[in-house]
């Protein structure tokens, strides 16, 4: 799963710590998500998207197309 979190955060001029505080998680969580090392569960994904006023699919991009119909 890819994320636009870093870009959106830069647009808002927020630090990782500030975003972490907004959504109520640790800074390590934001770092891991931005680096693509950790995929958040749905509640956190929604919180992150809402923090930027976006829908989940505008922030997170599902790349595994094995489930898509051919």
């Amino acid at each position: 799963m890819k994320t636009r979190l870093r870009v959106l955060r830069a647009e808002k001029d927020w630090t990782q710590a500030q975003l972490a505080e907004v959504v109520g998680v640790s800074r390590q969580a934001i770092i891991a998500i931005e680096n693509g090392k950790y995929d958040p569960a749905l509640p956190l994904a929604f919180k992150l998207a809402r923090a930027f006023g976006k829908n989940v699919e505008e922030v997170f991009v599902w790349e595994d197309d094995s489930l898509e119909e051919k």
Partner: protein, 132 residues
Amino acid sequence: MPTTTERIPSRPVRTFWAVLGVGTAIDITAGWLLAQPGYSPHARIIFALLPIPMNLVLVALIVRRIRQLDEFLRHVHLEAVAIAFLLTGVAVFIYGYLQQAHVVHPLNFGIVWIFMVVFYGIGYLIAARHYR
């Protein structure tokens, strides 16, 4: 824009360290009392069981703290616990074989706890590094 606040030890953290300190003092006292001659078997059983209450409080505090962690940190700690559990198993097995080979003294259960703590630290470092 959100602002970050300076981190100061919270009440639960202070409580944890206070309970850990008192619990350790009770552990040491119990060990010292058990090393003294002259006490009846019943008294020695009481000394041996003295550390239980504070240790249970400590367990409850740690469980409460884990429940307060965010999903990512819980994920990291879960990996650390899994690594510690497995490495402790390996270490105890190896220790047992070395004991059969008469290379080491019979296993003291206190050593298992040290294995767990050390391997938990190693496991945490491995997991935290993996997700960095």
